[in-house]
């Protein structure tokens, strides 16, 4: 017995060395080891897919799902509201730009993750033929994320390696705008290995043409007055070449304007759509917030949305005025064959107007209800909780087939770059380099597709023989209309340094008000008053008095009057010229003193020194 015990203990001591390794050699089951991640094409691919999810643009109404800085760049004269009213009112401080360097989910985090892919993908046995297309897509995403930073701030640190917080100095300076643009172009040049089209379960990836189109957009920005106030022609030449190359090669690949302007986004998922160059798919899933766009829910009238609709992205009178008549001439232009009706302003307008703006009495078949009339007058009963702020609703890209409760699960794709933009970018570069003929060609094609009549001169309402400056104005207005509610207006105003030309203007609404003695009331005590236009003709459901009013007939002005007025509480636009390149928040410079503050902005009492135009 004694011996047994003594030997047992000896044995236990000896066994130590054998199983020690087993006990101490543990695997972290919380994640995949690095060699597995980059040793298989499947894992490398899904790593890339995760980058797509967070780097590709989303509906700007759902900007919190995005990592690129689009958060408050939805502000302009296009619609009411906007995430940072300080841009419009001239009281922005650099500290309120919390979307430049947020600590979590920032652009920089994704740049780092892209860099990890580029640095590691070739280290664990994958062959170059497999990795090249994956890397090309990652390069595109890096250029895309950087472009979004540069267009807001000018040059930023262009980081191409994976930095280590223990060993590396993280205090790195800004690269100049030129250096950033060069780096983005270098990144995009890797994309030539990508196919012209992806099919099947790859549909949605970046194509070679997409990279060319983005290159054209980047160089257009670089040549534009925002970064090129002196009008350096070499920049315009670069931009022209890039946009011509994009136009030519996309055309050769079969890209073209889609037949129906109103369906470009709605049909983006269909293979027949030839216009979507860079896009993001949505499927209305509730599982991942990024896969269901919230657009319908936000832009529809309150009573036709799941929650929160009514008061956002209401088109301004400023935008409505920008639409020409159906023959392409501005309202009131003597060349136009249509007479502008200041009461029924919706008569005979550019067909794109009807795809974009809902006015009082317009037919708006939401919820698949054909012939449904949309009211926007002040006091509309069903939308009382959140009425329109301008008298209009945005109709652009609204999927009328969705029921109100389904609007939070929109599945309309987002088209970031469509062929129409490639054309207008090309037109703008051609015009800037003295080739007005190409600009005319592009503009007339756009207008033709829009449904504007060709007119006798075949110019679709364009003035013949425009100067370079007139043509630039025409192109900008075309972009304003063509790309309305596509998150382009704010960028265009800054890119062309025309934002401050709006100073003194106010965003206006065109309000339709019941004309006394008629009124709109939902109070129980008013329910039976004859002049209440919300009164039911019989009982407590069914048609109301308002439904008997023919807006095209004389009764319209008996019941309603209109009132042109600024949006409630709206102040005149007062955009500061320093906003063409924003300042960097102080906390970021405190941590990273090598970051120079932008000219026109301050840090710790000292004026910024970084020139974004260099």
């Amino acid at each position: 017995m004694k011996k047994l015990i003594i030997y047992s203990i000896l044995l236990i001591s000896l066994a130590d060395t054998g199983c020690q390794k087993k006990i101490l050699d543990k695997v972290d089951f919380n994640g995949v080891p690095v060699a597995t991640a980059w040793g298989n094409v499947q894992t490398a691919q899904i790593y890339l897919d995760n980058l797509y999810q967070y780097c590709m643009p989303v509906y700007y109404s759902n900007a919190s799902a995005s990592t690129v800085p689009t958060n408050w760049h939805n502000i302009s004269d296009e619609c009411n509201g906007g995430s940072n009213i300080g841009v419009l009112q001239g009281n922005l401080t650099q500290e309120s730009e919390n979307d430049f360097f947020p600590t979590a989910n920032s652009s920089w985090q994704w740049i780092r993750k892209i860099n990890i892919l580029l640095a590691d993908i070739d280290k664990y046995g994958l062959t170059p033929d497999v990795t090249a297309p994956i890397k090309a897509q990652a390069y595109f995403l890096r250029a895309w994320v950087y472009f979004n930073l540069v267009k807001v701030y000018g040059g930023v640190p262009y980081i191409t390696k994976v930095m280590d917080y223990v060993k590396d100095s993280l205090n790195i300076p800004r690269n100049s705008t030129t250096e950033c643009v060069d780096s983005m172009i270098a990144d995009l040049n890797h994309c030539s290995v990508l196919p012209a089209h992806w099919t099947g379960t790859d549909l949605g990836r970046i194509t070679s043409g997409a990279a060319l189109a983005l290159k054209g957009r980047i160089l257009l920005y670089y040549a534009s007055p925002q970064f090129n106030p002196s009008g350096d022609q070499t920049r315009w030449q670069m931009a022209l070449q890039a946009n011509k190359a994009a136009y030519d090669s996309l055309t050769a690949q079969g890209y073209a304007l889609a037949s129906k302007y109103s369906r470009v986004f709605l049909d983006a998922g269909s293979s027949a759509n030839s216009e979507a160059v860079i896009f993001r798919a949505y499927n209305g899933s509730s599982i991942i917030s990024q896969d269901a766009n919230n657009w319908d829910n936000v832009v529809r009238p309150y009573s036709q949305a799941y929650s929160g609709g009514g008061k956002s992205y209401n088109p301004t009178w400023n935008l409505v005025q920008a639409y020409p008549m159906a023959d392409g001439y501005a309202p009131g232009d003597p060349h136009s064959k249509y007479t502008y009706d200041s009461v029924r302003f919706w008569h005979n307008r550019d067909p794109r107007f009807y795809s974009t703006v809902v006015y009082n009495g317009a037919v708006y078949g939401l919820g698949n209800t054909a012939g449904r009339i949309q009211y926007t007058y002040v006091g509309t009963a069903e939308d009382l909780s959140a009425p329109t702020t301008t008298g209009f609703y945005c109709r652009k890209n609204v999927d009328t087939s969705l029921t109100a409760t389904a609007t939070q699960f929109g599945k309309t794709w987002w088209v970031e770059m469509r062929f129409a933009e490639v054309m207008l970018n090309y037109a703008e570069c051609a015009n800037a380099t003295g080739d007005q003929a190409t600009a005319y060609t592009m503009l007339t094609q756009i207008r033709k597709r829009a449904g504007i009549s060709a007119n006798s001169d075949n110019l679709y309402g364009l003035t013949a023989g425009m100067t370079q400056a007139d043509m630039e104005t025409a192109i900008l207005n075309e972009r304003r209309i063509e790309f309305a509610f596509e998150d382009k207006r704010y960028d265009d105003l800054r890119r062309t340094r025309t934002f401050d030309q709006l100073n003194g203007q106010t965003r206006m609404g065109f309000f339709i008000v019941p004309r006394a003695p008629y009124f709109s009331s939902t109070k129980a005590s008013d329910a039976n008053k004859p002049n209440n236009i919300e009164r039911y003709l019989s009982g407590s459901t069914g048609p109301k008095v308002r439904d008997t009013i023919n807006i095209e007939g004389p009764a319209y002005q008996v019941y309603f009057r209109d009132s042109l007025a600024p949006i409630v509480n709206e102040k005149p636009i007062n955009f500061q010229t320093t906003y063409y390149a924003y300042g960097i928040p102080s906390t970021n410079i405190s941590k990273q003193p090598a970051l120079q503050q932008t000219l026109g902005w301050m840090f710790a009492g000292a004026a910024g020194t970084f020139d974004p135009t260099k």
């Binding site: 017995m1 004694k2 003594i6 203990i9 236990i12 001591s13 199983c19 087993k22 006990i23 101490l24 543990k26 695997v27 972290d28 089951f29 919380n30 994640g31 995949v32 080891p33 690095v34 597995t36 991640a37 894992t43 899904i46 790593y47 897919d49 995760n50 999810q53 360097f101 600590t103 989910n105 920089w108 985090q109 994704w110 780092r112 993750k113 930023v156 640190p157 980081i159 930095m163 917080y165 223990v166 993280l170 790195i172 992806w198 099919t199 379960t201 790859d202 949605g204 798919a281 499927n283 899933s285 509730s286 599982i287 896969d291 005590s525 906390t587 970021n588 405190s590 941590k591 990273q592």
Partner: protein, 1070 residues
């Protein structure tokens, strides 16, 4: 000394010993017989060691307490009696037979033997800050967690409970342990030598706390706290201190069956008093009248007619739902006893708590088995088995239909308290949908929504010890322990129906709100009065519309092998041990959730949508291990000069291979001055006095496992070709150099007794140098680097220090009367030596270096209430751009100091308004007295100094949608300009400011215990079982309450109230 001389001395010594032994053996012999009994119970005591003083020979008593000892010589002899846990006794006797010796239980006395981790030690020889709690002192308390019962029992150990919900967690913190990164500050719990590592959610709780909390005090033999470098013996896990528990194994004697049972009544110790509907409406009227002088919102006014209606209706949702009397039941039955060869203990316990909200229950039952057996001479085996299973259930509430709020208890309490009193909870029996809260508690309860948790823990420890016969004092042991833990959680969130009612049209339909009223005015629809007959609108509350099933299982084993040696060579006493320990833990977690109920009322997966997009499944495995070598050497010379050294070499797979091993040494010295002749001759007041000093290095490896690994985890993919792909993303930026936190302890202590041992005291001054403390470097990492979610860096250095003092008093006034008291004093402070901090805070009060971690209270400096419109106008005239939170100053506002001097009050005007956010130091008092069988004691906490700011949530003013504390009744109005509170519309009214600062001094009675032991004379003569009855109250009274509107122990008024319990119980033993 040469080797030769040594050999010569040794030979001489042996000769002398041999001579002595042989000679004495030939002398006179006599036989002494007697009996040993327990002084308390008068029961015979088995296995008591009886020796003649100075002789190595001895015997032990039999199960009847009897002994027979053969001693040499004539005349008086001195016999020594000793038994673990009892005071040793020396008896000088000349008679030979029928000696009756009673031994006194030595709990809390100076010379019991206490568990110190991998061994035991006499209390008088302890060289560190080691404290014990006798579970008997706390076994009458009706607690859900054992930790809760230990309040005030040990100086330097703080126990906090912030909510009274059944099963609510209690946190224990030894010596104000701090962390820079939410690392665990929980001490390590060791139960019968095993750390029962268990799963908790997706990770592992490496501290064993849950298993400790599940123990029943009736089944615990001892609880020891290692507060300083003594914890070094637990190496990389000792930095937060160690709690050691031994369970009962029985004592020799006839079988003893004990039952203890109690029933408690639970009530909220304090329910926050909210405004009545009438007072609330009057305040809102005042707001409209005075705040909107242009009568923009006359429609907001509650007309006299409506005020009358409101006055007659005081719907109190809290009172509707709150059940005034909850209950706790505890039952414990055990049998124990044994012989010299075998002792055993078997106990079963049951705990049941019925909460004070509907469907809130917790229960637990368990079995504890312990056995010690001497198999053959020198070979002992000890076995402990514990099985327990617990259950908790409560209604689960996931707020509103649009935004599902986090499922939490205080969401419920908050809604119940703050719904305005004119809003009925039900109308004609139908649950009312009140828009601002968007749910209805009654309907939720009726919908059978719940969150439940079932857990089961099984642990087994077996130990074999063999005293090797050939070498005296040498023994070897091997111990194996394992712990299996399973947890099954289920939450059911079905949608349910509520009803929206049209309001009475009122005088002129004015109960609807108009546009936004102005500063601070809430938006939303206000419904005041309800039409009892009008049309109702069904409102379905989605309540999450989800079913969750979660499973966690952990298996953990630990093997310990060692060799120990204890011996005495004349004046030299040595005890040494060398031990090796291995441990491995594997845990599995599996979680599912399914959305969208299809079959109403079915809380099973098949009752929910089969559509895969509604189903979410996740799971993972965690695995860890540990390998350690440790050793300890104790040396004492003449029983008064003491030395101790120990080490532990610990390895953990959580760290990179080259950093897995850590070495943790400690050393202690002690001097029992009272054993010195000069002391005994000169100092008469003091009976015992010991000085000790301890230095030890410990670690904390509980945080951030595998922080050195570049880890890729599953993430969202992208929608490609209409198909959602998987995604993979890096989830942390690793730190290849990461390792455990370290702490170097120093502790200087004095222990002693005085006034004929009526008083005992213990004083410690400690210093803890925490270094290599893990913290995320995020504040120094630039954003452009894109580095987020960094693994922590071993960077921080924090020094902590403090003193603890315990004074105990115990006096037998006469044979019937005893009084006793314990006072604990506790003070500590700390200083940050190195820490990451945000750039931009390198000046001013937020700069952390060289300061204590507690940065005090940040808030606004208030200059008080602006009493009149004239005063406000004068101020505004003098300060033309003056705004408070963008509003101009008005009468009734709180005005503030413009700290940054920009002429207005906003978030940038916050500054440090108090240097500390807690009390400076604290006392714990336990007083008591015993008269014959009656015993009374009370436990009181006292914290002194410092300041606290009343919480923003607590002092939120009433709004149109929400009620507030009743104290707002006295707030500022045009008719009450001398009010103590600002107007309800005052901007920043409830922001943290000097206005809400109060002294943090508190004093409250934790418990009061009364008990009566039925006299043994009575029970034994009537052949009745021994019986003791008790009445215990917990969380009783606040004598000094810094937050008079709530119990000072609760965190916020929206937490489940702290409960006051009254318990009646009985202990019966056969």
């Amino acid at each position: 000394m040469t080797l030769q001389r040594l050999a010569r001395y040794s030979l001489a010594l042996m000769l002398v010993v041999f001579y002595h032994l042989t000679v004495s053996a030939q002398q006179h012999r006599r036989v002494i017989t007697g009996k040993v009994i327990n002084s308390d119970t008068k029961e015979p005591m088995n296995n008591v060691s009886v020796t003649e003083k100075g002789s190595p020979k001895g015997v032990t008593t039999n199960s009847d307490g009897e002994f027979t000892l053969v001693v040499p010589g004539k005349g008086a002899v001195i016999l020594s009696f000793s038994y673990i846990g009892f005071d040793p006794k020396d008896i000088k006797t000349i008679s030979d037979t029928n000696l009756l010796v009673s031994l006194v239980n030595s709990n809390k006395k100076m010379d019991d033997v206490i568990v110190i981790g991998y061994g035991t030690q006499k209390r008088s020889d302890i060289l560190g800050a080691v404290a014990t709690v006798n579970p008997k002192e706390v076994q009458d308390l009706p607690v859900a967690n054992l930790s809760t019962a230990l309040v005030n029992q040990v100086p330097g150990v703080s126990i906090t409970q912030s909510a009274g919900k059944p099963g609510a967690n209690t946190t224990m913190n030894i010596r104000n342990s701090v962390s820079l990164n939410n690392q665990l500050t929980t001490p390590l719990y060791v139960i019968d030598g095993l750390v029962p590592v268990i799963g908790s959610g997706a990770g592992i709780d490496p501290t064993g706390k849950s298993a400790f909390d599940a123990l029943d005090a009736n089944e615990v033999e001892s609880i020891t706290f290692l507060k300083d470098g003594m914890a070094t013996i637990y190496g990389a896990r000792g930095a937060n201190g160690v709690v050691l528990v031994t369970t009962k194994h029985g004592r020799p004697g006839k079988p003893r069956i004990s039952y203890s049972g109690s029933y408690s009544n639970t009530q909220a110790s304090k329910i926050p008093k909210m405004l009545s509907g009438y007072d609330h409406a009057l305040l809102l009227n005042n707001w409209v009248e005075n705040y909107n002088p242009n009568n923009v919102l006359t429609g907001e006014i509650y007309t006299p007619e409506e005020l009358d209606t409101i006055k007659s209706r005081n719907f109190d949702w809290f009172r509707n739902e709150w059940i005034p009397n909850g209950s706790v039941q505890r039952h414990n039955i055990s049998i124990s006893g044994g012989t010299e060869k075998l002792t055993y203990f078997a106990g079963a316990n049951y705990y049941n708590e019925i909460g004070n909200l509907p469907n809130v229950v917790a229960n637990r039952y368990g079995i504890q088995l312990g056995m010690t057996a001497k198999i053959i001479d020198g070979l002992t085996t000890e076995v402990s088995v514990n099985y327990n299973t617990g259950y908790e259930s409560r209604p689960a509430v996931k707020g509103t239909p649009t935004t599902d709020q986090v499922d939490q208890e205080n969401g419920t309490i908050s809604s119940l308290l703050t719904v305005p009193k004119w809003v009925p909870e039900t109308i004609n029996g139908l649950p009312n949908y009140y828009d601002p809260i968007r749910w209805n508690p009654l309907a939720a309860v009726n919908a059978n929504t719940y969150a439940r948790d079932n857990n089961t823990n099984f642990s087994l420890v077996g130990k074999l010890t063999y005293q090797i016969p050939v070498i005296k004092g040498l023994s070897v042991f091997a111990q194996y322990g394992r712990n299996d833990y399973n947890d099954y959680g289920k939450s059911y969130y079905p949608p349910y129906s509520t009803y929206s009612f049209t309001q009475i049209a009122g005088a002129n339909d004015h109960l609807n709100s108009g546009p936004n009223v102005g500063k601070g005015a809430p938006t939303g629809t206000q419904k005041v009065l309800y039409n009892y007959t009008g049309p109702v609108i069904l409102k379905t509350v989605s309540n999450g519309n989800q079913l969750q099933n979660n499973y966690t299982g952990t298996k953990n084993w630990q093997a310990t092998e060692g060799i120990t040696y204890d011996n005495r060579f004349g004046d030299h006493e040595i005890s040494a041990s060398l031990i090796s320990e291995q441990e491995q833990t594997t845990g599995n977690v599996y979680q599912t959730s399914d959305n969208t109920q299809i079959i109403p009322g079915i809380d099973q997966l098949y009752g929910f949508s089969n559509d895969g997009s509604n189903l979410n499944v996740s799971g993972q495995t965690v695995s860890t291990g540990r390998w350690s070598y440790l050793g300890r050497l104790n040396y004492s010379f003449k029983g008064k000069y003491l030395l101790q050294g120990s080490f532990r070499d610990d390895a953990s797979p959580y760290f990179p291979v080259q950093r897995q091993w850590g070495f943790f040494p400690s050393g202690s010295i002690g001097w029992k001055i009272s054993e010195e002749g000069f002391f005994q001759n000169n100092v008469h007041f003091l009976d015992d006095l010991k000085l000790r000093f301890n230095l030890g290095l410990t670690g904390n490896d509980a945080g951030q496992p595998f922080g050195w690994v570049e880890r890729y985890t599953s993430n969202n993919g992208y929608l490609l070709g209409g198909v959602m792909t998987n995604g993979l993303a890096t989830s942390q930026v690793p730190n290849p150099d990461i390792t455990w936190e370290s702490a170097l302890f120093k502790d200087l202590g004095v222990d002693g007794t005085f006034a004929n041992r009526k008083f005992n005291f213990s004083f410690d001054y400690w210093f803890k140098h925490g270094f290599n403390m893990l913290e995320p470097p995020q504040s120094t990492v630039t954003n452009t680097s894109g580095i987020t979610n960094t693994a922590s860096v071993n960077h921080g250095i924090i020094n902590s220090w403090g003193t603890e003092f315990q004074l105990g008093y115990h006096q037998d006034i006469n044979k019937d009367w005893q009084v006793f008291a314990t006072v604990n004093f506790n003070w500590s402070d700390n200083k940050v030596i190195r820490e990451y901090y945000n750039p931009g805070t390198d000046t001013g009060y937020l700069y952390p270096i060289g300061k204590r971690m507690d940065q005090g209270i940040t808030g606004y400096k208030s200059t008080g209430i602006v009493r009149t419109a004239a005063e406000a106008a004068a101020w505004n005239a003098k300060n033309p751009n003056w705004t408070i939170n963008k509003d101009t100053l008005r009468a009734g506002d709180l005005n503030f100091v413009d700290v940054n001097g920009d002429g207005k009050i906003d978030g940038n005007d916050q500054t440090q308004i108090a240097k500390r956010s807690s009390t400076l130091f604290g006392f714990g008092f336990i007083f008591g007295a015993q008269w014959k069988g009656f015993r009374v004691s009370t436990n009181i906490s006292l914290g002194i100094g410092g300041q606290i700011a009343w919480k923003k949530v607590d002092v939120a003013p009433p709004t149109k949608d929400a009620s507030a504390l009743a104290m707002w009744k006295g707030s500022y109005t045009a008719y009450r300009t001398n009010a103590t509170l600002p107007a309800i519309y005052a901007p920043f009214a409830n922001q943290v400011s000097t206005y809400w600062l109060h002294s943090a001094t508190y004093m409250y009675v934790n418990n009061l215990m009364l008990s009566w032991q039925v006299p043994v004379r009575f029970t034994s003569t009537h052949h009745l079982p021994e019986a003791r009855f008790y009445l215990t109250g917990t969380n009783l009274w606040s004598i000094i309450n810094p937050t008079p509107f709530k119990d000072p122990r609760s965190n916020e008024i929206t937490d489940y109230p702290i409960l006051r319990t009254w318990t009646f119980g009985a202990n019966i033993s056969l």
